[in-house]
Amino acid sequence: MTTTLTNLTLKIWRQDGPGDAGRFETYQIPEISDEASFLEMLDVLNERLIGEGTEPVTFDHDCREGICGTCSLMIDGQAHGPQRGTATCQLHMRKFQSGDTIVIEPWRASAFPIIKDLMVDRSAFDRIVEAGGYISADTGGAPDANLIPIPKPVADAAMDAAACIGCGACVAACPNGAANLFTAAKVTHLNLLPQGQAERFKRVEAMVETMDEYFGSCTNHGECEAACPKEISIDVIALMNADYRKAKFKNRKALSRI
C-alpha cells in the first residue's frame, strides 16, 4: 500500500533561455507519496516554487499516458529514467527510495536546442517526416480498403515500427546524437507495406539525407534501443540502411534514363 518517500534531493538543470549558460539547482522534497508519478512530484515542486514567488521548472508533457511523446527528461543520466520501456510520464515514485538524490536534465543533443530549463526543440523530427515520411495519396482517390490484402505478419511488423512516439529518447541516449532509430522506424513502417512501395526508395533517400542535415551519425552503439520507451528494435536501422543503399543505386539508374 501507499508509503511516503522522504528526504529526496533533486538536482535540476535550470536555463533561462536558449542563450543562457544554464546551471544545476538543488531542491529538497521533504516527502512525497510513492503513488505519485515522477511528473506529479515535479508539479508539487512547481506549486511550491510559485508559492515562494520563484519561477517553476519548465518541462514538456501532455498526455501523461506514454503515447504523445511530449515528455522528455534525462533522469540520473538515463533517458526517461530507470524503468525500461517506460516514458517519463509513466514512471512512478515507487521506483525511488527515501534519501535519493535525483539528477534531472533536458535531452542533450545538438539537433535539439534547449528552449528553457528542461524543454527542448525537437522540430527537426518534423522536417524528416516532411521530407518523405508519408505515402502520397490525396484524399478522395483511395480504393476499397480490402482491395490489397496485407499478410498479418507484415501488418504486425509495420505496426511494431509505427509504435514510435517521436519523443527523441533515442537521440538523447546516443553518444553521437543520431536519429537513426526514429527515422528508421518510420521508414520501416511505410516501406514494409504494399501501399508504401511506389515511393520506397525516394522516401528512404529523402528522409536519410534530411536526417543527416540535422543529426549525428550512427555508429551502432545500440543505446537508442535500450532507451526507447516503446522498445523499438534496432533491426529497423538495418532495414533502412539496406534500402538506402539500394535507393542510391536505383534512383541513380532511374535518373540516368531521363
Binding site: 500500500m1 507519496s33 508519478s37 506549486e47 511530449t70 509513466q90 524543454m119 490489397i148 498479418k152 505496426m159
Partner: protein, 640 residues
C-alpha cells in the same frame, strides 16, 4: 427571447441530403482556389485531415497548434478504435444501422441529417487511412479485422492494437506534413490562438500568441476552422491530456459563436481512481475489460478487509444485481452512475474509498491465466505501472472520470458557426453525438469532418468572395483585438496574489464535478452557480503568475486557460439547470423513473440549447434549434 436556429439542412429524403447538397453547392474552380487563404487552428485528427485535404485541393492553408509538433494532439491517446459501416463481417451492418445506433446512443438529441452523413462517409475514411499506410489489425488472410464496441450489435470497429488514435493521427499528420514539405501548408507550432477577429459580422482572422517569445500577432484569412478539441478538463481531473482546454472555442463564443449543449459531457466508467491530492490526470482503462471482469463492492460500508478475505455472500455485484440482462456490460452512463452510488453509500474500496473493484478472479479460474493475459495483458501491465498492484492477484480498482464532451460550438449542416466564415470541426463542435457518444465514434467524426465534409462545404461559403477584397491585418479591428489580448496576459501577471492557476483549476474542477458531473440537481446546480462566481472573483484577486510575458511561461498559459474554464463552467451549470430532463450523460435527479433510470422529456426538450455570450457568464442568452426526426422514432433505452 429564444430564436430558432436554422441548421440549413438540405432538402430531400434523409439518404439523399448529402448528395443533394453536393449537387447544388457553389464551387471554386481549381485555378482560383489558391486565391483563398484558410486558417486551421488545431492539428489533431480533424485539423490535420482538413489542412492536408484543403491544401491538396489548392487552397493556401496555414495551420496552428500550441503543441511542439502536430503529432502530439490529444487524438494520439485514443485506444479502442474507429467505427465504419463497411459491413466487412457480413453481419448485417449498413449505413442506416450505424446512423440509427448513433442517434439512439445519443439518446435522441442529435441532428438526423448530420448523423446520416457521418455514417455515409465513414466507409471512405477507412479507405483513405489504409491508403495512408495506417497499420490496422488484420486477419490471417490479410483482410481487415473488426471488433465490436458498446451500443452496437455488429462488429464495425477498426483498430490498430490499443493505439488506434495514434496510428490515425500519424496518418493524417504525415499527409499534412507532405503538404508542409511541398510548401502548401504553413505550420505554426507552439502558437496558441488567443482570440478571433470579426469584421463587419464575418470572421476575418485570428490573433495568436507565440508560446516561446510571447509575441502576439494577427493573421487574416478568408475562413477560419477551429479543430481545437473538447473541454473535458473543465473538471480538472479527466482522461484528457493536460493541455486540452476550451480557450479557442470559448474566445470564439465571446465574439459571437453560440455554444451548444455545454452540459452534455461523457463520464467514462473505467478509469483508475485518484490516489492522492496531487493527482494530475486520470488514466482510462479500456472498456473491453468489462467483458470478463466483475464489478463489486463490499455489502457492508465498514468492511476494511482486503478483497480476497471478503466472502462471496458479503459482496455486492451491483451491476449484475440491478441490470441482470446487461450485467457488467451496462452502457457507460449507467455503469458510471451505479459506481458513484456505491461509493457515495460509503462502500467504496481502496485507501481513499473512492473506487469499486473490477475483479478477474472468476475469469482467471474459468479461462486460465494465459487466456486472460492474451486478452488484456497490456492493460494489466499499464494498470500495474500506475498503481503498483498486480491485477492477476488483486482486483483492479476503477472509478468514472470525465472523458469526452459532446457539447461544443453550435454549427449548421455545413459546420459553420453562427459567425459567418468561422467553422468548427471534430470534438470542438457539438454536431453528431447528441447527449451521449458511442465508443469509437469520435475518431470517425473528426476524420469525417476534416476529410470529407469541410472540403466540400467551405467552397459554398468562399465562392462568392472570389476577387473581392477582405480586411487584412492592418484593419484597426486586428490592432484592437491584439491590444486586448496583450492586456489580458499582462493582467494575469499583475494580480500578484498567492495562488497558482493550477490551484484554482483544481478547486473549480471539484465544484463542477460535484454539481455538474454524473448526477445533477436543481439545488446542486444553483449552489455551483453561487460558488463558481465567488471562486472566480478570488481568482481575479488572488492569482499568482510568476515570470514574464516575453518568454516561455507555462504558468501564464495556464492562467488564460483556467480563466476560460471558469466562464465555461458557469454556462455548463446554467445549461444543466434549464434542461429539465435526463438524457444520455445529463442526469437530473429530479427526472428519473422509480428504478432510478433516466427520464427523457421529448415533448419539451427535443432541442439543442445554444448559448449566446451576453458579456456576463452568469447571464448567457438562450437560443434553440428544434430537432426534427423524419426517420427515427423516439424510444426509451432499457438495459434491465
Amino acid at each position: 427571447m429564444t430564436v430558432t436556429l436554422d441548421a440549413k439542412i438540405p432538402a430531400g429524403p434523409l439518404a439523399d441530403k448529402w448528395d443533394n447538397f453536393k449537387a447544388d453547392e457553389k464551387l471554386v474552380n481549381p485555378a482560383n482556389k489558391r486565391k483563398f487563404k484558410i486558417l486551421i487552428v488545431g492539428t489533431g485528427l480533424a485539423g490535420a485531415s482538413a489542412a492536408a485535404t484543403l491544401a491538396e485541393l489548392g487552397y493556401q492553408v496555414e495551420a496552428f497548434t500550441f503543441h511542439d509538433s502536430p503529432r502530439r494532439a490529444h487524438s494520439i491517446a485514443a485506444q479502442g478504435g474507429i467505427n465504419a459501416a463497411k459491413n466487412y463481417k457480413g453481419d448485417g451492418d449498413s449505413i442506416h444501422r450505424l446512423f440509427y445506433d448513433t442517434i439512439k446512443g445519443g439518446d435522441f438529441r442529435a441532428r438526423e441529417a448530420n448523423v446520416h452523413r457521418l455514417a455515409q462517409v465513414s466507409v471512405d475514411i477507412i479507405d483513405q487511412m489504409v491508403a495512408q499506410g495506417v497499420p490496422f489489425a488484420r486477419e490471417y488472410g490479410g483482410l481487415l479485422d473488426n471488433r465490436s464496441f458498446g451500443g452496437a450489435q455488429v462488429s464495425r470497429t477498426f483498430y490498430a492494437r490499443g493505439q488506434t488514435g495514434q496510428q490515425l493521427l500519424l496518418g493524417a499528420y504525415q499527409q499534412m506534413a507532405r503538404q508542409v514539405g511541398l510548401g502548401n501548408v504553413k505550420l505554426w507550432n507552439r502558437t496558441e490562438l488567443v482570440d478571433i477577429v470579426v469584421v463587419d459580422g464575418r470572421c476575418a482572422g485570428i490573433v495568436t500568441r507565440d508560446l516561446l517569445t510571447g509575441e502576439v500577432r494577427s493573421h487574416s484569412g478568408h475562413a477560419v476552422v477551429l479543430c481545437t478539441g473538447g473541454y473535458g478538463n473543465a473538471f480538472f481531473l479527466s482522461t484528457n491530456a493536460m493541455a486540452c482546454n476550451t480557450s479557442a472555442i470559448w474566445r470564439a463564443h465571446r465574439r459571437g459563436a453560440y455554444f451548444a449543449n455545454p452540459c452534455y459531457t461523457q463520464i467514462h466508467p473505467t478509469c483508475i481512481p485518484q490516489s492522492d491530492e496531487f493527482q494530475s490526470k486520470l488514466t482510462l482503462m479500456s472498456e473491453s475489460l468489462r467483458n470478463d471482469g466483475r464489478v463489486w463492492v463490499p455489502k457492508n460500508a465498514d468492511d476494511h478487509r482486503p478483497p480476497h478475505q471478503i466472502p462471496e455472500d458479503e459482496r455486492d455485484y451491483y451491476l449484475e444485481r440491478l441490470y441482470p440482462s446487461f450485467g457488467n456490460l451496462a452502457p457507460r452512463d449507467i455503469s458510471s452512475r451505479a459506481a458513484k452510488r456505491a461509493v457515495d453509500s460509503g462502500r467504496g474500496v481502496g485507501p481513499l474509498k473512492n473506487g469499486v473493484y473490477l475483479d478477474f478472479s472468476d475469469a482467471i479460474g474459468r479461462l486460465g491465466k494465459a487466456v486472460v493475459e492474451e486478452r488484456y495483458g497490456n492493460l494489466f501491465e499499464m494498470y500495474e505501472r500506475i498503481t503498483g498492484e498486480n491485477p492477476y492477484d488483486v482486483p483492479m480498482r476503477i472509478y468514472p472520470a470525465s472523458h469526452y464532451t459532446m457539447g461544443g460550438l453550435w454549427v449548421d449542416y455545413e459546420l459553420m458557426t453562427t459567425i459567418p466564415g468561422l467553422y468548427a470541426a471534430g470534438e470542438a463542435n457539438f454536431s453528431d453525438h447528441g447527449a451521449n457518444r458511442l465508443g469509437a465514434s469520435a475518431l470517425m467524426q473528426g476524420l469525417s469532418d476534416g476529410y470529407f465534409v469541410l472540403p466540400y462545404t467551405i467552397s459554398n461559403y468562399l465562392a462568392p468572395w472570389l476577387n473581392k477584397p477582405i480586411p487584412d491585418t492592418s484593419h484597426p479591428e486586428f490592432a484592437k483585438v491584439e491590444a486586448e489580448a496583450r492586456d489580458r496576459f499582462r493582467q494575469y501577471l499583475s494580480v500578484g496574489g498567492t495562488r497558482s492557476p493550477d490551484w484554482f483549476h483544481r478547486e473549480l474542477g471539484k465544484i463542477i464535478w460535484d454539481y455538474c458531473g454524473m448526477e445533477r440537481s436543481r439545488e446542486g446546480l444553483e449552489k455551483a452557480l453561487g460558488e463558481i462566481p465567488a471562486l472566480y472573483a478570488e481568482f481575479q484577486k488572488d492569482l499568482r503568475v510568476t515570470g514574464d510575458a516575453e518568454s516561455v511561461n507555462q504558468t501564464l498559459e495556464k492562467a488564460g486557460r483556467v480563466d476560460d474554464f471558469f466562464q465555461l463552467g458557469m454556462v455548463m451549470c446554467q445549461d444543466a439547470l434549464v434542461r429539465e430532463e435526463s438524457c444520455g450523460g445529463h442526469f437530473r435527479v429530479e427526472h428519473q423513473t422509480e428504478e432510478g433510470e433516466a427520464l427523457r422529456n421529448d415533448d419539451e426538450f427535443a432541442h439543442v440549447t445554444a448559448w449566446e455570450w451576453s458579456g456576463d457568464p452568469t447571464r448567457p442568452i438562450e437560443h434553440r434549434e428544434q430537432l426534427e426526426y423524419e426517420v427515427v422514432k423516439f424510444q426509451t433505452r432499457s438495459y434491465k
